[in-house]
Symmetry: C2
Subunit: 746 residues, 2 copies
């Protein structure tokens, strides 16, 4: 599904001008001789990669709709499996059986004060070859919406996130018993109906405003790449921040005969009906709204005065779904390791799309295939990976990471034992490297990025990204891009198949791609097609090749490193930053609450208000106590020391006995496991990682040190203190593992 | 003409909760007994004020168009003069003869790639009683545009300010020989054609985008108050930052037989044709533009993708004007001072409108009349002002402050000798007090604001404003609203009739009004009507009464104070702030230039750029030298001491001999003269004030310490150092006058 490209995920990076030759000499985990050999191998690998293969695979795999359960989805899986086999991999299809509802009835109509029936269709275009295959296309809908048939007054709720309901409250507007109309943007879509339902709404409609996704951004399709007034964004509204994967088999594999919940009891299925519509369909609804004019920040780019309602617009929303279970076909291909067959380097991308999915996911999926082919060519020359490579193309990612999650849940213990790393990609495009993941891999990835050449500018992708940060970054990022050797990588929330690996099992993971110069409005519409991709995205597939070069290096270095290239000082520095942010946030919240309560006591809100507009006296804010951060500070100090000691121990290459080396590597790749806790996060035990999690109210968006941060945001001070203790203990046991590695490395 | 209401002009204010009783005891310039008498008089004054008079005058004076030179403009002047007389004032009409061009031909048409002819008309509305008087209405146009008949490709230039042309340059776009289309906003309108011409454009069209002025803001007229797709903003494009007033008589009075420039030689008349249009007329032009998509910050609220051009849109713009001289009728009414007849307290507002001018200027003009009536009533009870009151209603303000400027220029020496203060208002509405002016009057105005009651909230207008700042201000303003006793007042740039008084002659001035809860799109259109005002603005004229109470207090206290209520510590503190801002700006410019040049040297701009978009390598920035601010720091230290000494000298009320008192007061009101310099500002000698000036490239917007600040902005380091010396000398001689006052007050 891929989260829309975050403009600058990295905050700083390696810079040849500032930090010239030194680090370039040897690769993390390789001595000088092994480095030379490895670099030569990577050169060979690069020479195998062919853009025309990427194009051909995309053309083939996007020829028909290939969502989970579709005939062409199965064909694609078999096509990929056979390709892997032809490249010399052992390949199979692992099948799960997952709930995948599709719509039987979809009605949105304005019933008062005027009549209008939403078209809910994306028309075929002569400029887009596949757009006319209306028979196989999934209609525009939200998977895991509730069934429902409701008629009520409409309220416009901006993005429909919690703070928007705070604003409505200040305006004296209550959405209980109403249908809400929310804009796409500023949160993952599934948050919108969830928060609407929490606030008492009985239905939710989500539209794409042309401000964020339409003519305001650029010329619309088919003239340009952006969303026309008929485009709508499909997508899942499964409550993934609770747990992703099949809603009927929480925490265990959705095998054919697994015990299943009744779908009516599944906690991740939305409680109210919800549907996406185009801005063409939204305009008559918005026009029919009365009531207060929406706050300035809420207004979009439609040629109207945005009002909030409620009413006089009344809307009828009727949705019925076919709640069927479908097979999800995960394609799994392996190349056995010569020295450490039980250490797995896993590389994946999903293959299912909402419709044609040329960009999402095929632009990434075809890269996986081409990497595998190139590896197969290396094997033909006599090379073998030391560790086992597991190449995967997941099914059923779009409805909620179902394929990968069920696969992981089914073989959790084996993965805990064997998985070294999980390397994910998803949609890929033209522009700048973006990377998120475990910060124990930050330095590793910086080395990789330094060795891949940007196809447009012929400098390293790292140098190009650093230039972008220096020119367009925020002040802090600019400053770091001058002062810090490594570019920062983002933290992972959710939104693609790395989630079960890192969040649930604690496997160090990376999510990597290119983008930022390939804007468009095709996301999850029928227009995410081969025609659209090859006109507007990575038109010559050169960034597909660059992604293969990047991921290929990650795979090869992970597979063949003498000592696995984990590094802990960047991790330590990153967590220190998170802790500092949280402390600042508590202090800011305290100051804010004090001033708010003072303003209230002095009656300033009432005095400042316009008597011709609705005014509701705000509630007092609860006082913010001083929290005991000492355990966290102590744990961070310990971690910093342990990380430094490991760095020192591995700086000089001595000789390690084979047995110790195996133990060392096992210790290293298992460190990430120690960042999890078996109880998981409060009220969502599936999410076990204590450093990174998708936000309970942001969906995809990450919350770092989530137990502490979310407790503070929700003003749950007791849980915040528990969170501080939990995270401190976690970091301390993590540091002990580093110390263990240090001992083995000495 | 009035600059659109600045949301929060004041940054902080008096607060009864924080700074309770102490200051309330006695008024600046009055001892305890005189204070009691004065407060009683003010109560009497308030009791005279009647909202229904304001309504009746507005209805009468907005019944027909009353621009300069119109029959009804003359009727209004005579009506006002006769009213003043009936209130017991001596009243007369002082006539100037000023250039006032009106259009003979106005054509805007798209000639390629499609055809479209702009309507350039504001239609009559049945909901607006006067809108149908099409015969007397001035058409939509810009006064002092050049005549012209040009056809050329169109370029969209955002707001058309200098930084927009920098952006165009980066995009490789040149406007030479083109017609530019600019949005209203972000500068005074006259800057747009001036900068367009400087960049080589041959014509300029300015439209009101619905983002800033239309449906994006609120429901459009006649449903709501905002601008419909047919509304267009008339206005002057006279190059007032050079000099305001009659363009043919620069610096001297436009008497009947004055020597006049040929209008073709007048430097303040625009060099290219320029015309305002509605967003209805702009839409087809914008739609016809190709080329690059406009930068995100440039895009408005029309339902299109904004492109920059040039072309394929080609536009024909033809304008012809009747360059005639018209009489401007300034209504002058005086009430002679009993003790100091040669000390003048001047109070004014303009009476000419672009069409009906109900809001601008009549909402302020009728307050002037009602104040005069109330003063007349006080006279009937036996009261007489100690100082002479001069009440004025200016003509020909809209085309360029012509009435007031010529009146001031004609009697410059007399005003230098006698003017104590000039108190201006213009359009007035519902909401919060806004005040700008000489900071020697800041404390005085704070005392006044504390004693006027807000009609909606029944607290002082000062308390209400402080609440607004505390709730909605920026962080710095909020902090000051907690820590500083006095609310800050804004500095004066230009935009209303205070300009010749303060900027040219150095008369301490204030500009005062209410607003912020009365948004609308009627400004300078035919819909600025009695109907619009009484539906959407100060509908019950209660803020008209509040303005009369505020201005009445200013007038009465200035007229009767024993010691004129000038105060210098707030002034000193304010100028210190300006100096600090400027130093920070130089430092920021230096850092920016260094980093820019480093990025350039490292080729980062090129690396960060998208090869599919136009890229022009930026120019290196000139290095920013360290400037010698020592003279300014020394002058500020001297000023701070002088201001403190004066405050101490006047803290205890002793007795001053009558002769000394007269000298003291003369010294006090003449201090502001010492803030001027006879040579004025570089390249615009008319602007003599060295602390405040309208920006050469902002128009209305003020530049404080203008000689230094503008030299720095324009990277003219030599002139910046000269400016530091000039301002330092100015402040030093100003401080000497304070010292003189301190001696007299001891």
């Amino acid at each position: 599904m891929k989260y829309p490209f975050p403009k600058i995920v990295w905050a700083a990076g390696l810079c040849c001008l500032l930090f010239p030759a030194a680090e370039a000499q040897s690769l993390l985990g390789f001595d000088a001789a092994a480095t030379q050999k490895e670099l030569a191998l990577e050169k060979q690998f690069d020479q195998q990669l062919k853009a025309e293969n990427l194009r051909a695979h995309m053309k083939r795999m996007s020829a028909r709709p290939h969502h989970v359960g579709s005939p062409f989805g199965r064909e694609n899986a078999e096509y990929a499996r056979d390709l892997f086999k032809s490249y010399g991999f052992e390949a199979r299809i692992d099948t799960s059986y997952v709930l995948f509802p599709t719509p039987k009835t979809r009605i949105v109509e304005l019933v008062a004060p005027t009549k209008f029936k939403a078209s809910l269709t994306e028309p075929p275009l002569k400029e887009d070859a596949t757009s006319g295959q209306t028979k196989e296309q999934l209609p525009t809908y939200h998977a895991y919406s509730a069934d429902g048939d409701v008629t009520a007054e409409l309220v416009f709720v901006n993005y429909g996130i919690p703070e928007d309901y705070e604003t409505l409250k200040k305006m004296g507007i209550d959405v209980r018993g109403k249908i809400v109309l929310a804009k796409y943007g500023n949160s993952w879509r599934g948050i919108k109906p969830k928060v609407a339902a929490e606030n008492g709404a009985i239905g939710c409609i989500i539209y794409s405003d042309p401000k964020e996704d339409g003519y305001f951004q650029g010329d619309v399709y088919p003239t340009g790449a952006y969303k026309s007034d008929a485009g709508a964004q499909r997508g899942s509204v499964l409550d993934m921040p609770l747990y992703p994967g099949d809603p009927l088999t929480p925490g265990y594999g959705a095998t054919k005969n697994a015990k299943r919940l009744d779908y009516k009891d599944a906690p991740t299925i939305m409680k109210i009906p919800v549907l996406p519509i185009s801005y063409g369909d939204a305009l008559p609804l918005l026009k029919a709204l009365g009531g207060e004019v929406a706050p300035a920040a809420w207004r979009g780019a439609l040629p109207i005065t945005y009002h909030v309602g409620p009413g006089p617009a009344r809307v009828h929303l009727k949705l019925e779904f076919d709640w069927k279970v479908e097979p999800a076909y995960n394609v799994i291909a392996t190349l056995k390791g010569s020295e450490y067959p039980d250490e797995w380097v896993i590389r994946g991308n999903h293959h299912d799309g909402w419709v044609y999915g040329a960009n999402d996911p095929l632009s990434g999926a075809v890269v996986v295939l081409e990497e595998a082919r190139a590896l197969g060519e290396l094997v033909k020359t006599g090379w073998k990976p030391k560790r086992t490579l597991v190449y995967a193309l997941w099914d059923a990612e779009e409805p909620g990471l179902l394929g990968s999650t069920e696969w992981v849940e089914e073989r959790q213990q084996e993965l805990k034992d064997k998985a070294v790393v999980y390397l994910n990609s998803d949609a890929n495009g033209r522009g700048f490297l973006f990377a998120g993941g475990s910060h124990t891999l930050e330095k590793f990835l910086n080395q990789v990025a330094r060795d891949v050449t940007d196809p447009q500018k012929k400098v390293s992708v790292s140098d190009r990204l650093r230039a972008k940060v220096l020119v367009d970054g925020n002040p802090k990022a600019k400053q770091e891009a001058r002062s810090r050797a490594d570019l920062r990588i983002g933290a992972l929330g959710s939104g693609s198949d790395y989630t079960p690996f890192i969040q649930h099992v604690g496997i160090a993971s990376m999510n990597i791609g290119f983008g930022g110069e390939d804007g468009g409005g095709e996301y999850h519409s029928i227009y995410d097609s081969f025609d659209h991709y090859t006109r507007f995205k990575d038109t010559d597939f050169s960034y597909g090749v660059a992604l293969a070069e990047t991921m290929g290096r990650c795979v090869l270095r992970m597979a063949d490193a003498t000592i696995l290239p984990f590094e802990f000082q960047n991790f330590s520095n990153t967590v220190q930053q998170y802790a500092a942010e949280i402390r600042q946030q508590v202090d800011a919240q305290r100051t804010q609450a004090e001033e708010h309560n003072r303003l209230l006591k002095e009656n300033r809100f009432q005095l400042a208000s316009d008597p011709k507009e609705p005014f509701v006296q705000p509630e007092p804010m609860p006082e913010v106590p001083y929290l005991n951060f000492a355990p966290l500070e102590n744990a961070l100090a310990t971690l910093e020391k342990s990380a430094a000691a490991y760095a020192q121990a591995t700086a000089s290459t001595g000789t390690i006995a084979a047995n110790d080396l195996k133990k060392l590597n096992e210790t290293l790749y298992k460190t990430e496991r120690y960042l999890t806790h078996p109880e998981g996060l409060p009220r969502r035990p599936w999410f076990q990682h204590q450093i990174y999690a998708p936000g309970f109210y942001t969906g995809y968006g990450v919350k770092t040190l989530p137990m502490i941060r979310e407790a503070i945001e929700q003003k749950n001070w007791k849980e915040a203190e528990q969170g501080i203790q939990r995270v401190s203990d976690t970091l301390t046991q993590f540091a002990q593992q580093i110390d263990k590695a240090t001992q083995l490395a000495k």
